[in-house]
Amino acid sequence: MRYSKRLELFEKLKNEYIGYLTNTLWKLTCDTDIFDEAIQYAFLAIWMNLEKLTGPDAGAYIYRIALSANSKAWRNRTGKDIQVLKPNVLKSPAAGETVDEEILNLVRKEVARLPEQQAVAIVMRYIDQSDYSVIADKLDCSEETARSHVSKAINTLRNNLSAMNVTES
């Protein structure tokens, strides 16, 4: 594909998906630095995979791009300058609101570490509030398989959070 044609297509796709990407990536990061990095990764992924985004699976592929960008941004940031979780604050009964926000951030971080199919299923189910039929349609699988992906993702998240000794506030 010629460069000028690629640029034109990229502009079109960017304008089409920037709203969705902004909304989803902010909910998954809730941090301006991570969000900034994630959206840059998402633009790069759109540029690299223009052909796939014009095909019949474009709807599902944009989820994969968003989640992959989210995972990369979290991987780059965690452990560098962002303290996602402070266990002593979590276990402190006096700081109720802080604990809640910290758990939210921890769950966001764990979502970024989920396998791709499970992450897509979780995001579609809980971030986009989609029905299982819609998830099945986007993932090109049966409704039962979509339920299975969501269930597996919930289990993985629960196990990972339990392993980190996170308890309910």
């Binding site: 920037i18 990407l21 909910k27 969000f35 769950v107 966001r108 809980y126 986009d128 919930i154």
Partner: protein, 133 residues
């Protein structure tokens, strides 16, 4: 943490408000990415492979047309013609009496052969004539 609580947390994440400045951050990131694309775009060379082929074809056609417009000259005779040995000393038509010209002319003139085989009788006759004188 039980499943229900985790679902509540996930739903809460899904209901997170998106502040307006996030859209501005996304716009800025988009502009930055566009600028990076402009810097990284490949150089546009004038001589692309297609243009090179076209230029070569035009040049070949022009030369071929020039060649075809001329009459075909007859093939040179295959008979060998002896042109004669070129003179080692060229004669200048401008100044035929110059020093070097005279030298060249002298060299080219045939010299009289020296008679070395004179017979004894001839020598004797010449001597007798001398005595008479």
């Amino acid at each position: 943490m039980n499943e229900e609580k985790l679902e509540q947390i996930l739903n809460k994440i899904g209901r997170t408000d998106v502040p307006p400045n996030v859209a501005l951050i996304a716009e800025r990131a988009s502009r930055n990415f566009d600028a990076a694309l402009k810097i990284a775009q490949p150089k546009q060379w004038f001589f692309t492979p297609g243009r090179l082929i076209a230029a070569a074809a035009v040049i070949i056609l022009v030369f071929a047309a020039g060649r075809w417009s001329k009459e075909i000259s007859p093939a040179p005779s295959s008979k060998a013609v002896y042109a004669g040995a070129p003179s080692a000393y060229t004669i200048s038509k401008k100044n035929p009496d110059s020093f070097w010209q005279q030298k060249a002319t002298t060299v080219r003139q045939l010299r009289p052969a020296v008679q070395t085989n004179i017979s004894y009788t001839e020598m004797l006759n010449v001597y007798k004539q001398y005595l008479k004188k």
